[in-house]
């Protein structure tokens, strides 16, 4: 695949194409109007609709029967609603940002406890919170205690780390576990390093393949 060719393949914004035209031929015919109506409901409620379209397209590509696609899209709508409600409960003023709803829905799919997500949202009032949420989810996926993981990332934000640098914090903690520390010790060690956790290699063009390989926060 030539570099850049992908850019031309990226999905056009929803506003530029009707949902139906994106779905037709990609999912079973009888599922199209149902998915379309669920997308319209999301738009009406001020929720992001692209995740629903993507879920339908994914089901179609995987040749899942129509009823299962509809069920998955409906479940996604439910997750987006849950995410919006959580954000409001945590203090965000409606209408909440679509990006934040998507992020929180994603966190819930990654099995982060809602109470942890709510705490993070409340303590990090300024979006975007995506990297923070992902960093915590990465730690929890490796058996870190959710509250301890959230505490570390929140501390990192308070120490001045922002956006993708927060992913370096979770990576550093996972590396400490790799080195034989317990998870509690890893959090203590990384907290002491804040805000000077190692960054991934600077992506010089000559080493871009290695540097841009998705960062690997898991034990290698």
């Amino acid at each position: 695949m030539r570099l850049g060719a992908v850019l031309a393949l990226l999905a056009a914004p929803l506003t530029a194409q009707s949902v139906q035209s994106r779905l037709e031929g990609r999912i079973p015919t009888d599922a199209v109007p149902v998915v379309d109506s669920l997308v319209q409901v999301a738009l009406h409620e001020g929720l992001p609709s692209e995740p629903l379209v993507q879920k339908a397209l994914e089901g179609g590509a995987k040749q899942v029967p129509g009823p299962r696609i509809v069920a998955a899209v409906r479940a996604s709508l439910g997750q987006l609603r849950d995410a919006r409600d959580l954000l409001v409960r945590a203090g965000d003023q409606p209408p909440v940002r679509a990006g934040e709803v998507t992020t929180v829905a994603w966190a819930l799919r990654r099995k982060l406890p809602p109470s942890t997500v709510e705490r993070v949202v409340a303590q990090l009032p300024h979006p975007p919170r995506g990297p923070a949420i992902h960093a915590i989810a990465d730690l929890v996926a490796h058996d870190f205690d959710p509250d301890s993981a959230a505490g570390l990332i929140i501390d990192a934000v308070h120490d001045g780390l922002q956006r993708d640098r927060l992913l370096d914090v979770s990576t550093a903690a996972l590396h400490e576990v790799q080195r034989g520390r317990t998870r509690d010790e890893a959090i203590t060690v990384v907290r002491q390093q804040l805000p000077n956790v190692p960054a991934p290699p600077k992506p010089e063009r000559g080493t871009v393949t290695r540097a841009r390989r998705p960062d690997t926060p898991t034990p290698p």
Binding site: H175, G180, T182, R210, T216, P219
Partner: protein
């Protein structure tokens, strides 16, 4: 260098970190067989084990700088491959590759004894596969890889009493299965 003139693990790690990528071949040759055996016993499939070991060693190479105790490289590598095996086990239900639970049978040309041994190995491997991953891991590290409980603790992150308990339970479960099948 050791008495045979082979570079020590610490020397190899230093060479690789110094830019000598090819020196990583020493690491592979030194530990591949043990890691592959461990992963095969864990996953019940040589192919899945080869994937886990290959992924683990590639990751080990990429994160070699984070190996703080190069002299304990072996323990570190087992830890990484253990994690890869767990990932494979977690994904088994959704993975595309069905795992062959029994090791390949011996070629009949190998003779009666080899055939019988292969059948016994298949029986034991099946019994092993029936254990929970935690017990299987503990049993294999202890009795197949011959590690001490201290080394096992360093690899798994578990406490020694926990590991002992798992090994004991694994032995009991294996004995039960083997007695039923023989």
């Amino acid at each position: 260098m050791d008495v045979n003139g082979a570079p020590s693990d610490a020397e190899i790690v230093a060479r690789v970190l110094g830019g000598d990528t090819e020196a990583f071949g020493f690491v592979i040759r030194r530990y591949e067989a043990g890691l592959l055996r461990f992963a095969t016993r864990m996953l019940g499939s040589r192919d899945a084990a080869a994937d886990a070991v290959a992924e683990g060693l590639v990751r080990a190479y990429r994160h070699l700088a984070s190996c703080r105790e190069p002299a304990r490289l072996r323990t570190w590598l087992y830890r990484i491959v253990t994690n890869r095996c767990k990932s494979h086990l977690a994904r088994r239900s959704v993975g595309d590759v069905p795992l062959d639970e029994a090791p390949p049978l011996a070629d009949p040309a190998d003779g009666e004894a080899a055939l019988e041994r292969a059948e016994q190995l298949a029986l034991v491997q099946r019994a092993l596969t029936g254990l929970s991953p935690d017990k299987r891991e503990a049993f294999v590290l202890k009795h197949v890889e011959g590690l001490s409980y201290e080394e096992m603790a360093a690899i798994t992150g578990e406490r020694i009493p926990t590991l002992k308990m798992r090994v004991h339970r694994a032995r009991e479960a294996l004995l039960k299965v083997l007695e039923e099948e023989t």
